[in-house]
Every structure is written in C-alpha cells, then in structure tokens.
C-alpha cells in the first residue's frame, strides 16, 4: 500500500496552492483531538493529510474594527486565558475553558471544533449567543463571511466540496452594559461531553432592563440552536429570578419539541430549568 502523503503548509497562501492543485481524497487536520478519537482507521483511506498546525498566521486573538477576531488555529487554552476574550466574549472564554482537559485544550482549536461540527461542541452555543461570524476561503481564493448559524446549517457541509478552510471567526463588540455566560451539564466536571449546554449574551440599560438577549443551546439536536423565542421573552423586561424561571420553562418546552421521541428528552427538559438558573448565578 502506498504511504499517505502529508503536507504541512506554513502560510495560508501555501495552503490554497495545495488545495488548488490536489484533486484526490484528503483530510485537513488541526489539533487532531477529535480525529484521532473517531477515525484513525480512516486515515488509511486517504491520499493526502494537510496538517494546519504549522500555519502561525492563523493563530491569533485581536480587536479589529470593533470586532474580536480569533484565528482558526487558536487553541482553547489560548482562548480561555485571553484577557481580550474574557473582556469581550466571556461566555466563549468560559466554554473554551470547559472543553475536555488541559491536555486537550492545549491542542484543540476553535477552527477544528466548528469544522468538526459535533452536536455537543462547546464553542457553538457561545458563538450563537455572541452573533459570531465565520470566514472561510476556498481553493480558488474566494472568501466567504457568514453568520455562525448559517455556517452550521448551510456551509459546513460544503467545505469539503469547495476544498475550503476556516480562516477565523469574528465577534462584533456590543455597546453599553452587558455580560455573557456559559454553562454545561456533563457526567463529570472534567473531560466531559456536554449533555446540555447554554450560553447567553445580555445587554442591559442602567435600570437593569434587558435591551438585547441572545441564547445558544447545545446538545439538543444535530447542531447548537439559537432560541429566538427566548429573545422575545427577555427583551424589555427586568432581569430577575421570576424572569429567569420563565426562561427555564420556555427552554424546557423548546427541548420537548427539539428532542421529541429521544430517550434523553425527559431528563434534559427538567435539567434545563436548573441549568438556566446556574447560568445566571455564575
């Protein structure tokens, strides 16, 4: 059997050249923390492995035009420890710090997490709550910038066909008072796959009235979901215990619908009522 070829481009220009000139069966690898768990045997079916870990220009966290921009090869350790992320996208820092273990966070990247697209990906609810966008480039050098929800639903599945790679994600900064939070429920505190996760981003006025509210929920279907009914419930209301309870009841009904017929539904629809309280208490 012929040995698999490996390319380790150092720049995105080299990467585009490789994608443009190769038509065989290939796989792009980033941190490898999902790949080596699910499909090591599949490596033998490939003609080419493209290892992105040498592309330094894709690993950064910076503020640009009122947007927090994070390179696709940035690790979850870097994201969870970044003061920029903690200041402007706290729920993402919190989600990043709850992924796997320190060893996994040292390798796993945000680009890999969203490209892999697990239903339990912890970054996904946070990116939904933060109105994040994803920028990706195809083999012809065309650049696409799409909302994270649109990316999950319509673009992620076409990445292979387009021979595209994720360059970065962007999080528009919000004005005024606000905060965001993330919480997950798993079977243990570390190295735990989320059974249910919630991320919320809230803007308040000076009287604690909610001016905008976004909520992402993970592990409730094929992809994380944005709960628009929660936005309608929360906006223009005073943040307090009664409203948080109402939100829990609403999310419980959403879960009943989203997971109809699934064995995990009765547990998750109860658990979310407590989880949403923890989301606001942390």
């Amino acid at each position: 059997m012929e040995e698999i070829r490996v390319s380790s481009p150092k720049t995105t220009v080299e990467l585009i050249d490789i994608l443009a000139s190769f038509d065989g069966k290939y796989l792009m690898i980033a941190g490898c923390t999902d790949l080596l768990v699910d499909s090591r045997k599949k490596l033998n079916e490939l003609e080419l492995i493209i290892d992105l870990s040498s592309i330094k220009e894709m690993s950064y966290i910076k503020l640009l035009d009122n947007t927090l921009v994070i390179g696709a090869m940035t690790t979850f350790t870097e994201i969870s420890e970044s003061s920029l992320v903690k200041d402007h996208a706290f729920c993402l820092a919190k989600a990043a710090g709850s992924i796997g273990s320190p060893q996994i966070r040292n390798r796993a990247t945000i680009g890999g997490n969203i490209a892999n697209g697990s239903a339990a990906a912890d970054s996904a609810p946070a990116l939904l709550a933060l109105d994040a966008w994803v920028r990706y480039t195809d083999r012809a050098g065309n650049v696409y910038t799409v909302g994270f929800q649109d990316f999950q639903e319509n673009h992620r599945g076409q990445m292979k066909e387009k021979r595209a790679f994720i360059e970065c994600i962007g999080i528009p900064l919000k004005d005024g008072n606000g905060f965001s939070s993330f919480i997950k429920l798993g079977s243990r505190s570390e190295v735990s796959i989320s059974k249910l996760s919630l991320a919320a981003a809230i803007s308040l006025d000076d009287k604690d009235i909610i001016r905008s509210f976004r909520l992402g929920m993970g592990s409730v279907g094929k992809t994380a979901v944005s709960v628009t009914a929660a936005e309608k419930l929360m906006e223009d209301r005073l943040l307090g215990d009664a409203l948080i309870h109402e939100l829990g009841v609403l999310l419980s009904k959403e879960i009943e619908e989203l997971l109809k017929g699934r064995a995990s539904m009765p547990y998750k629809k109860k658990a979310v009522i407590g989880l949403v309280q923890d989301l606001f208490n942390k």
Partner: protein, 153 residues
C-alpha cells in the same frame, strides 16, 4: 515519511508511518516505554507528555505534527539515576499506588510547575484534572505537588 524532532533533549531524524501517533513513536520507535497508553482517546491522561512546553495527550498527536517540535517524557525527569524532587515527593506522599497513571500525572504536574512555579492548590487540581487515578483519590498527588511547589494555600 522522514520526521525530525527532539525528545528529552536528544535530536531524532526518523522514518515514521504518518498514521502513527506520538505515543506509538515514543514507545515503538524510540523504546521510551515510560509513557503509558490508557484509553487511547484523550480521556485518562496516562499518556501525557510535554509537547512544546505544554501538557498534551500523546495518543492525540499525529506523527507528522512532531516535525521540528520538542517533547519531554517521564524519562526526562531526574538526572544521573537520581529522582527529581517531584518524583521523591510522589513517593513520600503515597501518590504512587498501582503506578499506571504516575508518568502522566508527573508530566502534567511538571508542565504546570514549568509555567507556574508557585501554583495554588486550585491550580494544581486544574492541571491534573485531565489525569485519572483510580487508586489514590488524588489528595496524595495534590499534596506531593504542593510540597514541591512550596505552596501554602
């Protein structure tokens, strides 16, 4: 494929199957069997090594990703046949029982102390949170690391 990298300060240039993982390279190519494989999927931490200054699971690094990198395994601890302080503290505090998790625990603790020589107990517990031990109940391990770090909190 030919891969060049450093392990425990020694330079290697080896012909390696690109589907090998770092743990396969260490154990099968280099004979460094101190690193133990447990779950093989990043859950237990027994295969932890230090890779470019950070603790990683060697079962989750693909061989081509070693190019130009520097790795430290449990065999790097101690000098001239003498154990290093961290290893001594593990023995003294009963932090080694069956011993299977010990190489991974030591390397997670070592990675923490390299980055932060004076960690708090919480930071120690976080640093070893990806390493499972089914014998000690963890307190002896935390005590051993605290002793070396000289922390009082």
């Amino acid at each position: 494929m030919k891969i060049t990298f450093k392990v425990n300060g020694r330079f290697y240039e080896e012909e390696i199957d690109p589907t090998f993982r770092l743990i396969d390279v260490l154990r099968e190519k280099l004979g460094l069997t101190g690193t133990k494989e447990g779950c093989g999927e990043g859950e237990c931490g027994s295969c932890t090594v230090i890779f470019d200054g950070a603790a990683v699971c060697s079962c989750l690094v693909l061989a081509p990703q070693l190019e130009g990198k520097e790795i430290y395994t449990v065999e790097s601890l101690g000098e001239d046949g003498q154990l290093e302080a961290l290893q001594e503290a593990f023995i003294k505090n009963g932090a080694v029982q069956c011993g299977y998790c010990t190489p991974g625990m030591l390397m997670s603790a070592k990675a923490l102390l390299m980055k932060n020589p004076n960690p708090s107990e919480m930071e120690i517990r976080t640093a070893i949170s990806g390493n499972l031990c089914r014998c000690t109940g963890y307190n002896q391990i935390v005590r051993a690391v605290k002793e070396v770090a000289g922390c009082t909190n």
